[in-house]
């Protein structure tokens, strides 16, 4: 019986104190009953190998013990979908600082990424991601185990559910907003406010670079194109290959023009009363510092434009599945 006793002890090891003796006694009786019956059938004592086969068929001691324990989950099925959603949001939010940090590791002298900096950024990203995931998991596990289910899980109204939205559809409000914003810009340009390099204000003036005027001419041309695109979207509110391409071209044109303008040290001179010095000095120093950050800003914005375009193309390719009640 030595094997049986060892098996029972091994099962007991995995059981909580209040179950150990009770479960062990019952399990021991069950195993011995099975051995007794086998011995009666065979008319002899079982060999050690035969007893080992009986125990093996019952499963590993840890597995046997686990069946007596209550089923426990770190995060239960009610909270699990929210938990996964929060993890996805955390993962996406972690990618934004990663993109910015990668952009800052680019050496514009040699047009190369510094291997050591990239390694540091990557390590920092992994560390932040794992930490964020661990914190989110811990919070959800606490909510689960303290029974602090958010009240919104119980109180909900079908009428407040989000309307079904086709991701390839362009919201009309967005198109109208785009037209209105661009018309305001065109009106400001038509009034001549963007065709000069000196702006007077009470007690002083700001002088901007000569590139200011051609920059706005380019932007106004883009604004006209954007109005045309938004007007088309207003009447045919679904993304198409042509319109995605036009959107990307306009956005890239605008960022290229802006990057070009930033490199020219936009603000050249500020004449202002002493009371206005702090903000005007800050404006001047920002203008002087801007050229150093143009590549980084451009990389991040271009990345956002590309990701948005890819997302739109991805949804364009997916068949629209009608859902009817």
């Amino acid at each position: 019986m030595n094997l049986v006793e060892r098996y029972i002890e091994a099962v007991k090891f995995w059981l909580p104190a209040h179950l150990k003796d009770d479960v062990a006694a019952e399990l021991a009786d069950d195993i011995r009953s099975e051995i007794d019956e086998a011995e009666r059938e065979k008319g002899r004592h079982l060999t050690e190998d035969e007893i080992a086969a009986i125990l093996k068929a019952r499963g590993r001691p840890m597995l046997v013990a686990s069946r007596y324990l209550p089923k426990r989950t770190l995060i239960g099925p009610e909270l699990y979908p929210i938990y996964i959603l929060v993890l996805k949001i955390v993962a996406v939010c972690s990618l934004i600082p990663l993109a910015i940090m990668f952009a800052t590791t680019f050496d514009f002298g040699t047009y190369q990424f510094s291997v050591q900096s990239v390694g540091n950024v990557w390590n920092q990203f992994i560390y932040s991601l794992v930490t964020a995931f661990a914190i989110v998991t811990l919070i959800f596990a606490l909510i689960e185990h303290q029974g602090m289910n958010p009240a919104s899980l119980d109180k909900w109204n079908p009428k407040t559910l989000r309307p079904v939205r086709d991701p390839s559809r362009i919201r009309r409000s967005a198109s109208i907003g785009e037209i209105a914003a661009n018309m305001v810009l065109i009106a400001i340009f038509a009034a001549g406010y963007l065709s000069r390099t000196v702006y007077d204000f009470k007690g002083g003036h700001i002088t901007v670079c000569p590139e200011w005027i051609p920059y706005w001419q380019v932007i106004i041309a883009m604004a006209v194109a954007e109005v045309a695109l938004a007007a088309t979207n207003l009447f045919k509110p679904f993304w198409s290959w042509q319109r995605i391409t036009a959107r990307v071209a306009i956005d890239l044109g605008k960022i290229a023009a802006f990057a070009w303008l930033l490199q020219t040290n936009i603000v050249r001179e500020v004449v202002a009363p002493d009371a206005w010095r702090p903000p005007t000095d800050m404006l001047l120093s920002l203008s002087n510092a801007a050229p150093r950050y143009v590549p980084q800003i451009a990389i991040v914005v271009v990345a956002i434009i590309c990701v948005t375009a890819i997302w739109r193309i991805f949804h364009l390719r997916r068949a629209r599945m009608p859902v009817s009640a």
Partner: protein, 118 residues
């Protein structure tokens, strides 16, 4: 959806069969314990009636049913060995009667669905 291979089909069937039997097993255990039994004999009775169950499933189930007040148990010595005997409690008998009605209702419903009355 691709057609399932024989092995996949068998795995799906086994999974569903287990789910189906899980609920029925409680009914079988409660019914078998209208007469007092200890674990090993109960397992044998279930096996003889085509409801084979491994001890890793049966004993935790017996504990659960006892905690819920549907079974009562006592340790007694028999054949020079201490054994734990289980039997249906009064509440267990009442629940068993209701569960059998429910189970028969399910059986009738499935029969009706499979062979609609014309």
């Amino acid at each position: 959806m691709a057609k399932l291979s024989t092995l996949e089909l068998q795995a799906v069937f086994e999974n569903l069969r287990l789910e189906l039997r899980r609920g029925s097993l409680i009914l079988a255990v409660l019914a078998a314990l209208r007469q007092e039994q200890y674990g090993y004999t109960l397992r044998k009775i279930l096996t003889e009636h085509g409801m084979a169950v491994d001890e890793g499933t049966l004993y935790p189930l017996l504990r659960r049913l006892e905690t819920q007040g549907l079974l009562v148990s006592e340790w007694r010595e028999e054949e020079n060995r201490k054994k734990r005997f289980y039997r249906l409690s009064e509440s267990g008998a009442a629940i068993l009667a209701r569960l059998i009605d429910e189970w028969q209702g399910i059986g009738d419903a499935i029969k009706d669905i499979r062979e609609p009355r014309t």
